[in-house]
Assembly symmetry: C2
Homo-oligomer: 308 residues x 2
């Protein structure tokens, strides 16, 4: 039986093995993912990002518990910051979520952010595709970071949840500003802390500054105390309402997701060609200022082999 067949039957072991192939970017991964692809598109993808220290993992943990109580199968992708040199995940799966590790209705996978030249969004798409194909009803994609790549990944989910907490410093406020515009649902976690009312007022004020770019439905703000489970049901209800209201947005995002995925694949496939066309020698020439980078890019493009 192929890995894809095993995944389609919902076999955890086959899924885990395919994900390792995905990590290693093997030809097997690509072959099996292609077989799976027609069977994807059913899972609901919820992205979760927010300030470091906002308790995102605890919120995710609460969501898993709530969704399981409703008998939904839940896949989780945790995007961890990693060494750009060693390439290995540092966090591993979040500790708290491990209590779900023995539940056959839950599949948690950590994804290390890879070093140079991206690849994060491609890896995420591939892992989500496996979870989707194996029959997960909901896939939660949690990012630790607030970097461009991570924000992009969350922005392409069906519903993007941004988690924040009352009373953080200026620097963190700034980050909040950067990710606020992708929020479909805002979660004020640790809402029993002082300053929750003020945080909510601030968020409402900032929401009014958002550029009205996509015809987005209104953003709901939900308060949670994830450590005690308070507000998690309301958070999931707000996510449901968002998805109910946002039919066209879902379609646009599915296309944007596909577009990003194709572009990344094209770039990746070209990297080999660039190396063969003398990328390293040109980089040395640019570093020594005997060529400029624009010239080097044009030279490389001119010497790429025709693929068709």
């Amino acid at each position: 039986m192929s890995l894809a067949e095993g995944v389609l039957r919902g076999e955890m072991r086959a899924a885990a093995r395919l994900m390792r192939e995905v990590d290693d970017r093997t030809p097997v991964a690509e072959r099996e993912l292609r077989l799976l692809y027609p069977h994807t598109g059913r899972a609901r993808i919820i992205g979760i990002t927010g300030n470091p220290g906002a308790g995102k993992s605890t919120v995710v943990d609460g969501m898993i518990g709530r969704l399981r109580a409703d008998n939904k199968k839940v896949g989780v992708v945790c995007i961890d910051p990693t060494s750009p040199f060693s390439g290995g995940a540092i966090l591993g799966d979040r500790i708290r979520m491990q209590r779900h590790a023995t539940d056959p209705g839950v599949f948690i996978r950590s994804l290390a952010t890879r070093g140079h030249l991206g690849g994060l969004s491609r890896s995420t798409s591939d892992i989500v595709a496996v979870l989707d194909a194996m029959g997960m009803d909901v896939v939660l994609v949690e990012t630790v970071g607030v970097g461009q790549d991570e924000v992009e990944i969350v922005s392409l989910s069906h519903t993007a949840v941004v988690v924040t907490v009352p009373g953080m410093g200026d620097d963190i406020q700034a980050i909040k500003a950067g990710i606020l515009e992708i929020a479909d649902v805002l979660c004020i976690n640790k809402a029993d802390r002082e300053g929750a009312d003020r945080a909510e007022r601030d968020l409402i004020a900032m929401l009014h500054l958002r550029a009205p770019v996509h015809d987005a439905p209104e953003v709901e703000i939900v308060r949670t105390i994830a450590s005690t489970g308070t507000g998690i049901t309301e958070l999931l209800a707000a996510i449901d309402r968002h998805q109910g209201r946002a039919g066209d947005v879902m379609k646009t995002r599915a296309r944007a997701r596909a577009r990003a995925q194709i572009v990344e694949l094209v770039h990746e496939r070209l990297l080999g060609d660039l190396a063969a066309a003398g990328l390293d020698q040109l980089a040395a020439a640019v570093a020594e200022r005997t060529r400029d980078p624009y010239q080097a890019a044009d030279e490389l493009l001119a010497s790429l082999p025709q693929r068709g």
Copy 2:
């Protein structure tokens, strides 16, 4: 007089105008940057990243003051998190640094992180090139975020400084782990806070876990209280020592920088070709599952026009 000529004479106004062209990615920007390129490579590039709330801007502000006292010209690039939709900078130049705004030996530029498909490292390279060509002795590149792109940018500077503070939460510890491996110099800011000794012990322990990938010289740990200026002289001295010890590393990084820049330019130039070759239609087909993304990427590559 061309913009490039103005920049080479050190004219602030020409530099500011060229940077706006860079922001807008105009043909003028490319033409002028090509003229400038042979005159770059003299400035020392110091990257600064670290935990949100660690006081990076205050450290940078202190470094500017100290470098100015030594009569060095200082360029500063602040990388701000931004809306992936509106594309505009939210923070603007950091408030505190504004005291240097009237000093003709200082040039501070904010750089908004752009939305989808990257471009951050290219924009940073271009802005650094302008500052370098206009005669800045030192260019400080400060990032607010700890995302993949930002970490990559900092890792490619001559010296990467990672700023942290005593006593932060788990989530933030995790981020620290992710960026620690790029550190050439570690700065424990707010070192008068409780827990500075413990923070230093933790950092030393984590440094021992670093993968010994590049033949990096030893990482010095410097304590600062940037708000009072304490330790800034020592921090700059540690950076100097790093650059003294790290001759070969500098060369390798200059090539890696050039390589990343060329690859980004190639990708950018190809995006237009991809659109012409039917990217959007293929994305729609992938979203509807009538094609898989791998197939779509191969089709696009096959239909790219020969450039040579």
